[in-house]
Each structure stands twice: as C-alpha cells, then as structure tokens.
C-alpha cells in the first residue's frame, strides 16, 4: 500500500540517517525521497514514498515522532494533497524522430532544457504517474538516462505542516 510521509526535522548532521534507519531496521524499502530546507532553514522537510501496510507505517510513524530531531510527521495519503515530482530524461533524438519526440514532450507539457545533434534532455514535472506515462510514450528504446527528484507533497487547503505540538 502506498504511503507518503511528510516529515519536518532538524536541519543538522545525522538527523536524516536516524529517520531512514527506522525504515531499514524494519526491512521496509524507500521508493523515493525528497528533502531540502524549508522557509525556516533550521528545519528540513522530507517527503518519503514507501510501500507498506498500515500497521507497519503506523509503528514507523510513532517511532519517527519519538526521535528527538523530528518535529512533525503526517501521512499525506490520509488527507487531500498535491504531489509533484520532477524528472530529467535524456533521450536519443535523431533525424525524423526529433519532431515526434518534441511533439510528445509538448503534449506532456515538458521542456527541452538541453539539446545536442542527436539527443534532447527533457524536464517534466507532475504526479509520478504522468512521468511514467511520458517514459512509456517515448519508448524504452529512446531513453538514455532518467533522473527523478522523488515525490514532493503538500496538503490542499489552508492547513499547514508546522512546528506545533507533535501528534501521537
């Protein structure tokens, strides 16, 4: 089951590895993660995508809350939220195919951010499913390299994730 955790934690050495250790010690793989400082640079925000059952993720969430360096944790799958991911993909684009690839890129609202005589580097932003759909449309044979940022998520509406009291 897909779980998407948003975690606010201290932006300091060693804090991230404490968070990740809780997944590793339960043999839970992390599908993607994206982390950077927030508007308050003393804090980092991590969005972490994992596949796990509800009970396991509840235990992990409780243990995340136990960590001294973790300020706030929510599971975005339980709330209305927006999620986006950025992907850079380098494709082989030669001859007649250049036009076709450009058109596919436009359909997916991608941008070509680097060009050579036989490649395009395309930037695409959207929900993960859209990025995977684009790769499908381009065709495996054309793909030279893919880099994905990992999913970022934020709740819809006025509610914000901030350094208030921790939830249980």
């Amino acid at each position: 089951m897909k779980q998407l955790l948003a975690i606010l934690f201290e932006n300091e050495a060693g804090a991230l590895v404490r968070v990740l250790g809780l997944f590793a010690q339960r043999n839970v793989n992390i599908e993607s993660l994206s982390v950077a400082p927030t508007e308050d640079t003393t804090m980092s925000r991590l969005t972490l995508l994992t596949l796990s059952d509800a009970q396991t993720i509840e235990q992990i969430t409780k243990h995340l809350n136990r960590l001294v360096g973790v300020v706030k944790v929510i599971n975005l799958v339980h709330v209305e939220h927006v999620e986006r991911e950025l992907m850079l993909v380098k494709v082989c684009a030669e001859g007649d195919e250049r036009q076709e690839i450009k058109r596919t890129c436009d359909i997916f609202r991608g941008q070509i951010v680097d060009v050579t005589t036989n490649t395009y580097t395309i930037q695409l932003v959207g929900p993960t499913a859209k990025l995977l759909g684009f790769l499908e449309a381009i065709g495996r044979a054309h793909i030279l390299e893919v880099v994905r940022s990992g999913t970022c998520g934020i709740t819809r509406g006025a509610k914000v994730l901030s350094a208030g009291p921790k939830g249980a």
Binding site: E10, V68, V70, V71, A168
Partner: protein
Amino acid sequence: MTPMLTADEMLVRALIDQGIAHIFWHPGGASFPYHRALSKCEEIAFVLCRHEVGACHMADGYARATGRPGVVMLTSGSGATNSITGIANAYMDSVPIIVICGRDSVGHSVATQLDETDMIGVSRPVVKHSYIVPTANDLPRIVREAVFVATSGRPGPVVIDLPRSAYESTVKYEYERSEQISLRGYRPAESGHTGQIRKALEALLQSERPVIYAGGGVIQGDASPALLTFAECLDLPVVTSLMGLGAIPGANRLCLGMLGMHGSGLANNAIAHSDIVLALGTRFDDRATDDPEQFCPRAKVIHVDIDPSSISKTIIADLPIVGPVNEVLNILIQLANDKQELQSKRNVRYLSWWKQIDDWRQQPSGEERHTKESDSSNRIHPQDVVQTLYDETRGEAFITTDVGQHQIFVAQGYKFSTPRRWVTPGGLGTMGFGLPAALGVQFAVPQGMVVCITGESSFLINLQELSTCAQYDLPIKVFCFNNGTLGMVNQWNQIQGHENEFLGYAESMPDFVQLVESFGHRALRATSLDELKQAVYLAFSEEYKNQTVFVDVWVDPNVLVLPTKKRGSGTSTEVPVDS
C-alpha cells in the same frame, strides 16, 4: 562573571551542574585529555571499571535503583564499541544512562586513525538520542539536554561523542550554565487525556472481571504508591510483568504475581478470564503475552503509556491513554474519590471475581508440584535458595540477576516489598549483567543490602568486575546457582524433545571458590541445604557484613523452571510438569 574553563573542566562542571555524583569510566588515548580534570574533581566519585560493558551495567544498576541517570565515560574505538551491549540493554529496559565517548577527530575520514569507530553510527539503533559535540562551547547545553532526554518521557540511553577536534586542550572557554531546554522535536506527554481517563474509570466500574497489568513503567514512573492506592480503592487484582515486579508489594493480597511464559497460574488465569485489562507502563512483551490472538481474548484493553509507540503495538488498545502512569493514576484516584457511591460499595465490588481468584489461589502452583517431585535429589533445589534468601533479607534486598533459570526462580519466588529493588535485564536478556549491576546499585545505595543472584554461565561473562568490587570495598553478596550447564537452553531442548542436545561443561568449570578468593573476596561453597543456610547466615553476619561474599551454590541441574508454556500455546495453557 562567566568562568573561563578548559574543555575537560567544562565537561566535569556541566555534569556537576546536572547533579551527577558518580561516573563509571574506563580511560584510553582519545579520552585522556579530559581525564585530567576528573582526577582533580571532588564533587564526583570516579569509578574505574575493568571493562566498558561493566561500566555501562554499573551505570544501569545505579539508575534503576535510584531513578537518577547513570553516567559512563569511555575512550574511542573498541572502548566505545565494547559498551554497545550495555547501551542496548538500557535501551530495551528504558533505563536513563549517558555514555560519553572520546574520539580523535571528526572530519578526518572515519576508521583510518588508531582506535577509531563511528560510535554514533554503531550505537544509533539502541540509543534514545546521540550527540557529536561540535565545539567545547556546546558542552553545557549538550550535557543538560542529554540528562533531560535520558530521564524524561520514556527514559533511555543517550550517547555523547566528544571529539578532540572540538577543543584545544590548553584553551579556556566561557562556561555558560545551561538552564533552558529548547527541543522543539521533543515534548514528552505530561498528562493523560482527562476524557479518556474518565471513560477508563467508567469501564472499570462496569466490568465484572477486571485486572490491572503493571509493567516496568510503573516503577520507572515512580507510580507504585498511586497504583496501590487505586487498586485498593476499587479492590482490583494486579498482575505484573517481569519488569513490573515490586510495583505492588509481592505479599499484598491484591498482587497475583507475574504473568507470562513463566508466570504464575494465578496471574495467567486472571488475565485469560478477565473482561477488562488496565495495562500500565508496559509494552506487552511476547514473553508476557505469547500469542497476541489468545491473550485476554474476552477483555477490553485500556493501555496507559508515556510512549505512544508502545500502545497498540502487539495488543490493540480499545482505550489508549498517552501520559505518565503516575499522573493518570492520580486522576483516576481523584475521580474515584469524587464518586460517592464508590465509598459505600467498596467491599462488595467484583465479589464473584474475587471468589474465583481465591479459588485459583488455593490450587497448588506448578512450582510447588515440581518441588515435591525432585525431593529425591540431594542437591540443592534452586527455589530453596530463593526462599532462604527471602527469609534472611525479609524481601528488602536489592536483587540483581543475570539471565536464565536463576532469574525466573527469583522472579517467581522473591516477593519484593518495594519498587526499584529488582534489577534484572528483562528486554535484552543480557548475561553478564548481574555482577556489575550489583556494584552500581551498591554505589547508589551504600547502606543497602545488595544481592546478586546469578548462574555460573552468566557470572563468567563479566567476572572481571570482581576486581572493581575489591578496589572500592563493596559488600555485595553473590549467590551463584551452579548447575554446570546452560540451564534455560537445556530446558528448552528438553521441552522441545531434543534431550540429546544437552549443553553441559561441568568438566571444564573453574573452581569458583578459588577463583573468587584470588580477587581477595570471601568465597563459600554450598552443596547441601544445610551448607546453604549456613552460608546465607554467614554472608549477612556481622563478621562478613562489610565484605564481598560469593557463594557457589550447587543446585540440582535437573530442576526445570515451572510453570512454563510452549510458545503459541496461549496464556492459560501450561506445559505439563512431566514433559
């Protein structure tokens, strides 16, 4: 004016400011610079241990007996990694210890210098929190935070890594005493939800077969007096976990003893037939619950714990209450006292339930049955040792143990009258804990009667601390249940039908009396019940009172710990005595 101190003076000063009176240490190259200040310090007693894990177990015993944090100072590399078992043990049993390690420097690649290990990385899964000190100026704050984190909420170990790159040994730094704690990510629950507590009381009043299940959290949270008051107020029976022994006086009518794999039939029957369980400060360990599906199958579970991650982990709580057990119990007592009708009904509550419990109480327990069967053996029965010690110490000794049959015999037989006297490695099952823990307890309670009950296999794991014991003249009494075998392991082999896989080493045992005497201690041997009684009498006599006394007790190796349950068999089914 702010005093100017060198980094080593600063560390010691910060510890003094936190009320630290004892430090258990083992020095080495990387910790050498700050050891100079230690020798000059008069406010803190420095205990030089023979092994780092011994130092940790001492700090652990010290903390369990008092509730104050136990502090350990070590060097880098192997000095630090040797402490891991001690730290993990404290982590599993939620004991506040602080382990300060030296390190050459941070920044250079790890593990290229002599005696270097990433101690923070190695200890990460078994600490509550850890720090690398960035600069000497941070020391007062970090020490203050470490003590706060270790002792508040659900207590646990904290590691501080102090690299030499954080300070110049000759430079003086401004010492600013740290008062404020600002940890936005750490706010342990201070009180339970009143609405939930109210519901809990109603549920208890409406129930017919209630049981209180008290865990180590009652002891750690100093909630024993409140527990007794509340249990008496509603006339509630109390069972305890291994870690909860002493939460309620063992001889009290309300106390049904320990539950679980080796628990009393009475406690297990009560839990199995209950319609409501009020669980206090316990994590429903598998040795207590066995198969969660079959644990108190008809009961509603109210779970009070300061740590939300303990709630609904193995047993789903119908009514969770996150908060310190003591606060929650005090609110329960207050709510109960406010109810007029409670006062008049005090003696008629749960009448048929108590009648059932008293019927169970009359039945012979598994322990007694087995005692009779092994009468033919002329070696000492382990339960007789526990009983003799109990009679001699009137249930008031501080008892430390290791792990195995001896541990369970004490848990079943020694009725602790007060909390914090039962010091046992419950969660990690650490053989080698008992002796150093006894030293730690004796440092904390110099006038206390401290007894280490151990097995010969466990004792051999950390016997080097007998030398520490000699150095500091600690009058602990050690009773070593010697059956020449890994008793509990063999018991399991036997129960599971692998009798031929007997693990014995009776032929390669040292002469324990000579061994212990070589450390300068009194050592006695007991091969019969009469000799045992004589040895116990001597150990606590005027003549030997102020000395370390070791008694090599030759117990019957054929005695099993009973009752016992096969795993997965549920709370109320025992392995038959003749299996």
